[in-house]
Symmetry: C2
Subunit: 343 residues, 2 copies
DNA sequence: ATTAAATTTGCAATCGATTACGCTATTACA
DNA sequence: TGTAATAGCGTAATCGATTGCAAATTTAAT
């Protein structure tokens, strides 16, 4: 019931104007120390809280930032969001989270909603076939747009991604170092740059090692467990049979492992497996899965930092910043033939 | 560069007043159809978009709802949030997500920040020892407050939780039905109601079955894997040794399984294990873990619905609604002695 | 003491949308 | 035709905070 107290209430109580109160609260130097003290005291006493909406309307800044991800109930995106929040909250920003569910149409709608809500910036991890029009609408309004993890080729848009090529290269190189020579690859949706890059890294590592590259050993999946199982069934029927699988996704790698075991083959003795993303379950498995860590938390922080830079950039000089994080190979028992057990 | 068009721009272009434009856009019946058409057309043409901030300031409604969870990078809370969004977005609400990191002080701060941002409601999953003062500040402003999953005993506050007692009872009963008679319990932080309830359900099931209740078989953990391992070490040294473990958390259950296997005992033949929460990894394990599903998605939707009801409730009659969802037992191989293999 | 300079504070407009109230036309009815 | 009722639109205030400009007051300087 107690109506919120405004600066007018404080002004009335002290018999001064709201203007003076506002200035006092904002540490404006044109206010005498005595008045400032008086105001601050009264404000505390009256339990004053600034109305951000009014301030937002006046300043044109909402201190809200939109984040669009395919979904939040995945460890990767959850961690990215956590990184973003940790960086933006101390700066007074709130994060509005939207999910595109991998649907470009939904993505477009969410963008419009966010623009409508007067967000000060938009951080996006695109869907596999995002449309550029909605994204351009953001730029047209001169609102900072930043891509993370999954980017689109758009001029003037900054991005924070990991080096997927390098990650795949490391993973494949590791398998080669462990003595594998017939390395298969479970790939993903090629309309996403990340999967094209991972494929390239895989291929390059094989070529660099002087091993033959075999088209048949590359199978596209939807990056889930069941597709991993199906693809592995196909691979295991080949002759010669692959002696390693590098999967562009942990979930497909999981499926692969399950199928390999179902066929009574040993991992890593018969076939080694490496995944991608360092999803929590890869660590907890009875047979822990080697994988590539994408440091999602740092990615989120980085994306937020880029936004802040862009946002505070007074000059009208636009800049495009590309941050590429280095992925880390995590070796576990699914690919370590010289078994070194860790506690 | 292109300044946003306002209703004043439209008014000027049509040589009418902003008031008329506003009414036309809001489908006010006091406007002629011809004018309305004209305005709508011009608005579309000029690419008009309503400024939610101005509207929020005027109406006092921000159409933002705050959600506070211990953390977002867990499947459970991620799914709850997804449910909340799915229910609120269509109603025009945005969700601002905050993380308390299980720290009551942080929680208090986030509450103040949300209030400051003029949110229309706050949905909270409390920390283990939340302070009531910040929560009361929400109520003092007459802003709907809803608890989900983890509640505090506060008069007039609605909540959506699952029946933890029932879930634990079902899990324990299942173990008994499978022939176990010496069932241990890995518990959690007792300052959280959910863990007290789960313990009670466990105890009641044992008593109802006429089995002896043994204090030594109940061990408190921090609901993580390492604590699960430690607790299990203790349990396995007991004489007589338990023949089943019901863990109040999936992570502790995972630790238990790892320790049991490390000691070369068989699951479920020697010892059966049931967890709680249906975390994704429980399904993917080589030995899938039986667990209790909390339907987080539905919980989120339900919490959002309760908020909407409360928010649209014109009358000043306060009501307290308690929704209790029914948990579901998911039987997997970690507790199924009469092995029925699923593909 | 008088004027110039500096400090403090007030006035009023502004951000964009909404809405109670009231003023014109237009229509209805006798 | 005259009066009342109604439809349609404009005027202006409002939400709460901010800020350029001007006014008032104090301080400094001569």
């Amino acid at each position: 019931m107690s109506k919120k107290t405004t600066i007018y209430d404080i002004a009335k109580a002290l018999d001064i104007t709201a203007a003076t109160v506002s200035r006092a609260l904002n540490n404006n130097p044109k206010i005498s120390d005595t008045t400032r003290e008086l105001v601050l005291q009264k404000a505390a006493e009256m339990n004053y809280e600034q109305n951000k909406l009014a301030q937002a309307l006046k300043s044109g800044k909402s201190y809200n930032v939109g984040v669009i991800v395919p979904r939040v109930d995945s460890n990767f995106f959850g961690s990215v969001i956590r990184g973003i929040e940790e960086e933006l909250n101390p700066q007074g920003y709130h994060v509005i989270i939207c999910q595109s569910y991998e649907d470009p149409k939904t993505e477009g709608k969410k963008i419009d909603t966010l623009l409508n809500a007067q967000v000060d910036g938009v951080l996006v991890s695109t869907t596999s076939n995002s449309k550029k029009e909605p994204l351009k609408r953001i730029l047209a309004k001169n609102i900072p747009l930043i891509f993370f993890d999954r980017r689109k080729d758009m001029q003037g848009v900054s991005s924070v991604v990991i080096n997927d090529f390098e990650g795949a290269y490391k993973a494949t190189k590791h398998l080669i170092d462990e003595g594998c020579t017939k390395i298969a690859h479970l790939s993903g949706n090629f309309s996403l740059e990340i999967f094209r890059e991972r494929f390239s890294g895989y291929k390059q590592a094989i070529i660099d090692a002087g091993l033959p590259f075999n088209e048949d050993w590359v199978i596209k999946t939807k990056s889930n467990r069941t597709d991993g199982i199906e693809a592995t069934k196909t691979l295991l029927q080949l002759n010669p049979r692959p002696d390693a699988i590098f999967s562009a996704s942990d979930f497909a790698a999981l499926g692969a492992i399950q199928e390999i075991r179902a066929q009574k083959l040993n991992i890593p003795q018969d076939i080694s497996v490496v995944g991608f993303s360092n999803e929590p379950f890869t660590k907890f498995m009875e047979l822990p899965i080697s994988t590539i860590d994408q440091s999602p938390f740092e990615m989120g922080k980085m994306a937020a930092k880029v936004f802040l830079e862009q946002s505070n950039n007074e000059s009208h000089v636009k800049m495009e910043k590309k941050v590429v994080l280095d992925p880390q190979l995590i070796i576990r028992n699914s690919s370590l033939k010289t078994q070194v057990l860790t506690p």
